[in-house]
Symmetry: D2
Subunit: 508 residues, 4 copies
């Protein structure tokens, strides 16, 4: 046998076994061993690298995020492998589509950007259903839910029992949860809403067909905290007319995360559902700890978090988590149709890319950098005669007063920060104006409370922010501030006040 | 100057002018001309190809699907160009993200599959809002809506005035429309629903917080048609308690498209909103014609169609169309947050790939192939002693009786078609069983009507189906049928009846 | 077991078996069957689609171009699968590179464009050697050689016994062959070269360290044909000083393909190697037939063809073919080092994409279109008072006289064709000038012969040209010609003559 | 004007200006400013980010590696932009190909992997020529040569004046240089070759049509160094029969880099060309310093380096450098045809990805890690009773004796290292056997010298090796060594000696 023949024989064997990942078996070595050891060749065969096609198997068996991230070639192989399980990618028998939806994609570039998986996830019955036409897409969807659950547990939500990746924004996902609560609360008309000045949060209530009852926060030293008493009173008054309490954990300082423990206790007492808007709260150990504690002593029906804000994937999805496995089913069934599989795919790819280790590290780094950012902001504020609100429980967002800038110039200051390449920093000014959001009238919208203040700057330290960004932020902030206050004299005669539409609002 | 220097000079000039597509200027030719004609060089300069960077400009100016499709290199350039307008892809100044959502994407493979556009579309206020952070993504979203409108008009909906691409399934989009109607109908509790046995249609009503009032179709010869009288009666009885009538155009034979003209007339008379589920109805000239006519003489508030079923892109989106430009805004504002930009991107890429010509052709081909499919099915049915229901108005789906197969074997017959690589063909059997969908009890679910029948086979000819598929479908159908009836004798003793879960249902 | 559990179990089984392509097994169907037939379930199991992972196996077993092309998802899976066999893509054990070349690629975009296969092909000993570090890349290289051989045989070179894909241009590959002949001809100094006015052909001789003895063609009616007598005389005179005869088959009319049968006979008689430059000759049935015949009765040591010109892949490679299996080895060993694997990859992907059927069709279409082009050119020539040279044996290139255009304007005419988007059409003018190519003095370079003529236009019909291109070519040609002759009056006073550098030459 | 209209107007303006990278102009901000400052708006306009489309311009103007690397979206845009300049990617006028090579690519996946640039580089005249059909590909080729020169200078070869990226391996590129020397040395038959046991180096001489005269190195303490005296003597004897001296800088210890200064001095004195095989020598500051010095006081006609070994790109290319600008032309002209553009593309992409900063850093890191590797190997050698050869001038490769392992087991030891995932580490054993390479008889092939030794292990620290790899290498080496020596007792009775084909050779 020539060396080429040996090689072909080896390849045939590989292919015969359908081995996916069994990469390098040192042919030369095998030959040597044969000649060297004769019959005792098995002696060293244990040195030969173990087949690595166990990688994929272990994924399906354990359904857990692997310890170490996968390299890109493996991710690509994985996607190709999945795609081959969708009917329309069959190579053995041409699939004939005689229905009204057959996963046809006419533009090759679109097909490619979807990795040839075009059927989306779920069926009209439920987001959790498997599509017989699209096993690959369905596997991806299942794996996304399992990975999401695993991720929750890794981040401290150890008692979480089920997760559902939903291809919609946080607000729409909250809406989906409320819809699924409806059946058990046939008389319900209202959702008790602890005020948080995000339009999407408020709109999610209307979208589900309910009306909010607004509970304004109360001031506790620097922080705006939950008015627990008010919630209790409302439930006692309205009883079964209340669909649920919608609390919010992640928010801009000086608003503090809601007191979910107290709310959960009230909800348990009065047998009222409790839904948590935990948009980017996974990043805060304090918030996570509180949700776990609240569930132990009180009631949480579901909690919703954004995929892009916590997992560094593109906008478009959310995760709904529940503490009972059965609780996820009615939520999955409430979605009326098949849905995009992209957020599921992105989550799986991202977690396979990071592996457990780097995933956890990215959260640890956020915590470390937040402490640094707070320290630097406090120091900068002192230097310029401002101060940073003390809202200890808020571990993501910070607020610094802007008393040294005239009220009517504060927004411009924020805009200039943006033009200097700083995105996400927002200036909040105070006003007695009433903003109408979906029919609700909110005074001083943006500040989470009608109470007036002297204006402040919000900044956040989210997962994925780098140390360079934190440092550079302060370099630019200092330079813009210095220039701005120097030039201010010239403008003081002018009186223009401008409020660009939508500026300073928190999007979802 | 050496030839390389001339070349560099030429390139510098190209780059200086920022010319994108001005591809080949024949350098050699220019040189020749100079020497050949001296001052009269202009004489032949008109031969030199006109700069083609007008291509992109004309896109933004006209906002119309180009006549001819773009080749892939151009599509890729276009995507790259767009991506460069998102803040986080800036190359001149490193963007510092100090907010809670900064379009960060940690896995390179995910970033790539999103063409580096990670911010999604819309803001918390509305799906139509532009994100200052993400001009590229926003351009794509705007263009998608313009293209969708252009496509509608090309397909005959010439009076359509506005379109919104929604990154959700048809059912969820119907839900979004209902939510936006709520404000003008504060007392509304019910949606009048002409029965169509898709779970997602029914669920969309519950999701928006309403209850359906079911109007069963009536038999008119072979077809199941709208019970217009019943709808009229219900509106007269309930008045302002009715949110809207939800009619359906595209459906499985023998159900016919709803009589939207009569419904629109009633809705106009009683001032009740009218919402049309036009899931895959764009493919039928008859349906399109009726919607246009219905709007002229009656009332249509919005109509919703699936992106994947009509435009051959992956599952995940829908288009909401309105006949008044202003009517689209409240619907866009009802979505509570930012949303995935993928369906918008896919639609734009697909229409740029096809160009107006091929886009229109693909619909023409469907019409031609449907006629062929009907002719062949009628002929096959005659051969085996069955018949095809005569539902003239249904130009997408066909139904053939299955009287020669025992009731208890019909579903198996359908399954075997699937196993032979035919997807989308469904066998419908009749039953007195009651199916509970979201609390509604529906007799004989799947048949759109409680009336019993002897079982039938549904097939559809949708956009994208090829002539080969139509031909091959009949080859396999004939072969499976022949084998099935031959072997049937052996089973007749057995009594097993099986109804696989969800089999034969219409997904959305 | 819930349906999800069944699904997971199914997936585990798939993964366990390492099944690559075993796409859709209808789970629901399997379940049904179980309940329907009980123990007789096997009855219908034969209906369930056969596993398709045989696809890959058959590739390795047969090493032949598959009958039908593979769809893109399968090609991508195939590439991923191959890449996993290169050491540095291992996922089970991190590879530690302690050598000077470890396939490291620092730019992710570059790695991706190479499908993660970075080691190239061959080793310092031979292009045919397998790299233990890079089994995937090596498999690709082996397959490319096998596919090339298979393609040759499909095109009529049925007695071809071995092929080598070389990642260099045709000229360099000819050089490689000459180098490998050197050992058996230690006294050789010269290569007998039948004149063909391509610089690369001539340069290939010098590159290998030899000197050409030029044999000018002789005129036979319209055609320029091989001066067989001259070759015979030279060999008789110089004997062992001749390394080989280098003949050329594919060329621009009016040069005819060399009379390889006569040359082969002489070479056999005198025991002199014979090398054929068959750059794009695979497209001509006549040339193929002659090479086969020449080998039967005479001597051919190797023949070289361009990859891009015959196989529609990017520039960069060639195929060396031999009629003895053992003859390929010394050529493969002559390459001094490892080489780019890109041409091998591109060839394999292209042939897998086309499949045998479409590959053969593309050559059939060229033949049909060439006949059409010749007919239309003859007709056009008649209309304008020109004529097409009658060179029957040349089935790829055509030449039309340009007597109606003044000599000094002919080149401009060619340039204008180029500026009108016609590439590849060349105007040849005649001249007594001497062109020095690598020290050889050639009179009337470009015309393959020192004999003067009145100028002509060359066009070719190569594989991949579409019917639209042929038709549109004549539309543009006619329009340019009409305009050109109309405007000519104005220029006649002027005397400028220009000859852009390199215009009208045949590249390789 | 509505906000959407303003947006469209802005986009139209962007497109009008053909602005590529002018990413984010804060529209909202511009509006604000207008209202706030009225006519003094210019005051703050300087805050608005400067247009960044200067990026591309500066590339063409400076033709230098940018200071900082470009992000991937920019690289993709750049490739798309280039591709649009190739004729066959025109979108304004369909290109009609009427020649024999038209850049046609039939498989979409192949076209994509070539970024739509399919014409390769160069013309039959020279690798430096611009293809009028393919301006994009030609730009890439030009830029590659400029970047290569810039890179050389950054690495210390400050007096280098011209570079040519050649799409062939180092050996073939050496061959190309020799061919180009031929014209000025018509009587030359021999190349003086300082022995280096790489087959490709030796084969490059034969390929160009010359014969080597071998100069064996001499032992100087541990190192094998150049026998300068011998070279001098040979030149004095043979004079014009010598084409050039081919020296080698990068090599496996204990061979030291050739004394290029002394050789250059001799070459200058006797007016003989001097060609340097600098395969992976760019990584050694010492080698670079010596080449520069040698050129100042002596003669160097060209020096060749591998692209993959120095620049971390896939196998397939080399860079030829010269110290006179005009000297590069004859080399570029010696290539007989058009060539693959892939190595040029890969080099440009890689250097744009890294930027000057990271490119230089990667070389600094190699130097630091080499020192660490040497220190650790010396320490390990001491522990086990071996020693590391002292070859100070070799800053890439190290050699450790293997006296504690019986001769006949040494190769097995090397194989086991490979099977443990260590690639590149080679065991060299000594032998009196004669190896015939292309007719040359070399005793003790692999050891660069016929002198016998007791066996040693070679390891190298090349650019791209990570600190983790260095550390992990020693972990595995120690563990394999311990296990190997422990088990050795059992085998001692056996007598099998095996020498896998090609094992331990240095590839190129």
């Amino acid at each position: 046998m020539t060396s080429t023949q040996i090689f072909w024989a080896h390849i045939s064997r590989l292919a015969e076994n359908g081995i996916l990942f069994d990469a390098v078996v040192n042919i030369a070595l095998l030959q040597e061993m044969k000649s060297a050891f004769g019959k005792r060749e098995g002696e060293y065969s244990r040195l030969v690298s173990k087949s690595s096609n166990k990688l994929l198997n272990s994924l399906w068996e354990k359904k857990r995020i692997p310890e170490d991230g996968w390299p890109e070639p493996t991710l690509e192989l994985f996607l190709s492998w999945l795609a081959c399980h969708d009917t329309n990618n069959r190579v053995d028998m041409v699939s004939i589509g005689a229905g009204e939806r057959e996963g046809r994609v006419v533009a090759p570039i679109v097909r490619r950007l979807h990795c040839n998986m075009t059927h989306g996830v779920g069926r009209s019955g439920s987001l959790l259903e498997v599509q017989p036409k699209a096993l690959g897409s369905s596997m991806l969807a299942c794996l996304a839910n399992e990975f999401a659950l695993n991720a929750m547990q890794l981040l401290g939500l150890t008692t979480c029992k089920a997760c559902l990746v939903v291809p919609m924004c946080t607000g729409m996902s909250l809406s989906l949860c409320m819809t699924s609560f409806r059946k058990t609360r046939p008389r319900a008309k209202y959702v008790i809403w602890t005020r948080i000045d995000q339009k999407s949060s408020l709109k999610s209530i209307f979208h589900a067909g309910f009306e909010p009852i607004i509970v304004e926060p109360v001031r506790e030293r620097d922080a705006l905290v939950t008015n627990v008493e008010h919630i209790n009173r409302l439930i006692e008054q309205r009883g079964s007319e209340i669909l649920c309490v919608l609390s919010t954990t992640s928010c801009f300082a000086p608003r503090a995360p809601d007191n979910v423990e107290a709310i959960a206790a009230i909800c348990r007492l009065h047998d009222v559902p409790h839904l948590i808007n935990n948009a980017y709260g996974l990043q805060s150990e304090e918030i996570v700890r509180k949700i776990v504690a609240a569930n132990e002593t009180g009631r949480i029906d579901a909690f919703v978090q954004s995929l892009d804000k916590n997992f560094q994937i593109p906008v478009g999805g959310a995760i709904v988590g529940t503490f009972k496995q059965s609780a996820i089913l009615p939520i999955a069934q409430a979605y009326p149709g098949r849905a995009s599989g992209i957020p599921s795919r992105d989550l799986v790819l991202t977690l396979l890319h990071q592996g457990r280790r780097k995933f956890v590290e990215s959260f640890d780094r956020q915590r470390m950098l937040f402490v640094k950012m707070r320290r630097k902001l406090v120091s900068f504020a002192e230097d310029i005669g401002e101060c940073v609100y003390d809202v200890e429980e808020n571990e993501i967002s910070l607020a610094m007063t802007l008393s040294t800038i005239p009220l009517e110039k504060q927004t411009l200051f924020g805009s200039i920060l943006f033009s200097r390449g700083i995105s996400g920093a927002r200036v909040l000014t105070s006003s007695h104006d009433v903003k109408n959001v979906e029919g609700c009238e909110l005074i001083n919208f943006g500040s989470h409370c009608s109470e007036q203040h002297g204006g402040y700057l919000n900044v956040a330290c989210a997962v994925g922010m780098t140390e360079y960004e934190v440092d550079e932020f302060f370099v630019r902030l200092a330079s813009v501030y210095a220039k701005f206050t120097r030039d201010m004299g010239q403008w003081m005669s002018e009186k223009s006040i401008f409020q660009p539409d939508g500026y300073g609002e928190e999007d979802d």
